[in-house]
Amino acid sequence: MPVLAPGRGRAAIALPRWRAALTDHVASLAVAPGGALVAAGSLGGDSVVLDSLTGTVVATLPAHPLGVLSLAWSPDGAVVAAGGQDGRVTLWDRAARGAATVELPGWVTSVAWSPDSRLLAAAGGREVAVITAGGEVVSRHDGHASTVTSVCWAPAGGRLAAACYGGIRWYQPASRGESPVAELPWKGSILVVAISPDGRWLASGNQDSTSRVWELSTGEDLEMSGYPAKVERLAWEHRGRDLAVASNEIVMVWHCGGSGPEGTRPEVLETHTDRITDLAYQPSGPLLATVGRDGVAAVWQPERRRRPVRALATGTPLSCVAWAGDHALVAGTANGAVLRLHLEAGARAARR
């Protein structure tokens, strides 16, 4: 397992501190607020909660036959939600160590918690279900023209965005019932959406090799093109100033602060030699982590340089990544392992 020496031979990512095993391709990871616990789910259907320092299995979550597709911890850390190819969402309560189950009409590909931790949105088939942390269904939003691929909440106002082919629908489940309160139409296939942490932008990644941002205060949208393939993964820097978008082997970082990205060129980050499968920004710093089918985990500081500040070739195709705090990464592999990777000295210096 060779360690790449990025930059001028400075710090690398250390070899895995621990390694845990699931039964198949790790499809999703979710780190609890604070970074002490990580939930990992596989296409084999099993999912576990691990102690992120030791790799010890703290809890085994309910199985989803046919595979776990999506995981999310509530922002208060009390509940972890899992969506599966069996069309079910399970909500596992950390204190009660019990689970509630809700059924949807299709694969549950996306789950997202409201910022106040009270409501979970889950997309399955053409429906979005909004569920309390206890597992009670608050509302079901159907009538989408095609499969809902991604859901996310605005940071304030109880607004929920659901994306599918043809555009984005806004809901306000707690106060405005089951009908959409607004729409952002776009004739294309949207694969993923993410709202910037400052609530200014909604970004989408699309099948037609573009990404798009809508400025939510005006409804105006901008198309970002030049990607080599479809866009399935994007991430916002924690203040919402930068948007990182992965497509095939490259990442483009768009500066969305100030007057926005219109007319600007992105930073292009290149080091991966095969498709990037996931990316994640540091919870409270400027660093960006990427993992790919080439087995490389890389950490970037996009505003400073276009080469990774740290990288590790694990030798196994990687499928997903999450930060466990600001100084460690947890990565899932295509053959069912979960690894904790630690950033060696220098990571702290990069933090502002």
Binding site: G44, W107, Y165, G188, S189, D208, N248
Partner: protein, 198 residues
């Protein structure tokens, strides 16, 4: 690629399903995609070319169309509302293998008419006769029959301004690896409209 047709939404689900299957530990040797009788085969076939993740992992082997010898002419003749494709014609036109089923329910003369009609729509597909859909699997699976001739509807065009004084010629640019110029030229020539003499 997304011009706003319903086909793209079907393709999205197929991409997700195939992508998910290929991530599993127990990889597949073959995947059989069975569409409904009302499906337009074009977007299904295109899925294997337009999506990078799918195109690098899967190869489209063949499009096999099963037709009912007794009823196919009726379906081919069906007049659809304007703007709606006749799915039966599409499915025959896209086929690499056409299985003519239920031959025991029609006489030889009728079968000849049916096959002649199928040939008129699709001159290159191999026609296989069957009773109760019994077909030697080696003739329809793992046959490597799909080729570029079937990859139509992947290009788009729109009306431009008046031609003016520019020389009258059209240019079609293909971008790809190992393209066979002669094969492409022959294929395009085969698509040329022929003047019908009265």
């Amino acid at each position: 690629m997304n011009s706003g047709c319903i086909c793209c939404t079907v393709r999205g689900d197929l991409i997700r399903i195939l992508g998910n299957l290929m991530r599993r530990r127990d990889r597949f040797d073959h995947i059989l995609v069975e569409t409904t009788g009302l499906a337009d085969p074009a977007p299904v076939a295109q899925t294997f070319f337009v999506d990078n993740e799918i195109a690098t992992q899967l190869r489209l082997d063949a499009i096999v169309t099963l037709v009912d010898a007794r009823h196919i002419l009726h379906h081919l003749d069906e007049v659809k509302p304007q703007g709606v494709e006749n799915e039966a014609v599409e499915q025959v036109a896209f086929a690499d293998r056409i299985v003519v089923n239920r031959i025991d329910l029609v006489d030889e003369a009728r079968l000849g008419v049916v096959e002649e009609r199928l040939r008129a729509i699709n001159a290159v597909a191999e026609i296989i006769r069957a009773e109760r859909a019994r077909v030697d699997l080696d003739r329809i699976l793992g046959v490597g029959a799909f080729d570029l001739s079937t990859v139509h509807m992947l290009i788009d065009s729109e009306e431009a301004g008046p031609w003016g004084d520019d020389p009258r010629h059209s240019r079609l640019v293909f971008i790809g690896r190992n393209l066979d110029r002669e094969q492409l030229t022959a294929g395009l020539r085969g698509c040329l409209a022929v003047a019908v003499t009265a």
